[in-house]
Symmetry: C2
Subunit: 113 residues, 2 copies
């Protein structure tokens, strides 16, 4: 249960860091190999690699190996999933809601948490 929150949080780690947003911006114009990202970002090679791992784990970025190069690109399905999840997480659900302070228990469920 808290486990699902951890998993969902992973998806949004892609977007909660400045550097990763800069990488995503670079990828918007199309697939890039790591060497290009390393050139464009002003952080070291191992840092870029670290961020790419987080981006891939979020599902928002896919990677493809071609010889000794690794190419990264936006994942359409991962991006759609992230958007759908964000919308779900912020959509009110119809669980009845006591209006007095301090006497609520029922955590809402809709089968997705």
């Amino acid at each position: 249960m808290g486990c699902v929150h951890a998993k969902n949080a992973k998806v949004f780690k892609a977007f909660c860091d400045e550097k990763r947003l800069a990488i995503l911006e670079l990828l918007r114009s199309g697939e890039k190999c790591a060497c290009v990202l390393i050139d464009e970002m002003d952080i070291g090679q191992s840092s870029v690699s670290y961020h790419m791992k987080i981006l891939c784990e979020s599902g928002v970025v896919d990677s493809r190996q071609e010889g000794k190069w690794t190419h990264y690109r936006l994942s359409e399905s991962g991006s759609k999933y992230a958007a759908a999840l964000l919308i779900l997480l912020t959509t009110p659900n119809p669980t009845p809601n006591p209006d007095r302070c301090g006497n609520l228990k029922s955590p809402p469920t809709d089968g997705l948490f």
Copy 2:
């Protein structure tokens, strides 16, 4: 320019932490006062307050003062903004894209960064 990334990252800080997702889940069933959130979450009062500040700064949550209570709820406009931003950040843009490694310069722009 990197400044915009920092600002955008703030929006998604709401979603990249387990505890904050748990709080958002609680808010899906309706407005809650801080005291309820403190009861439900197993972290101290000041930690909840810390997370609520981040959630409000993201724009995804709004707060309302009522006497000595603070009530928090999902912001519909903030949530929509976050969703629209996520979609924008992951939508390919048509900037032409050289396909050889190591010789790209042009950062893409569409007036939104």
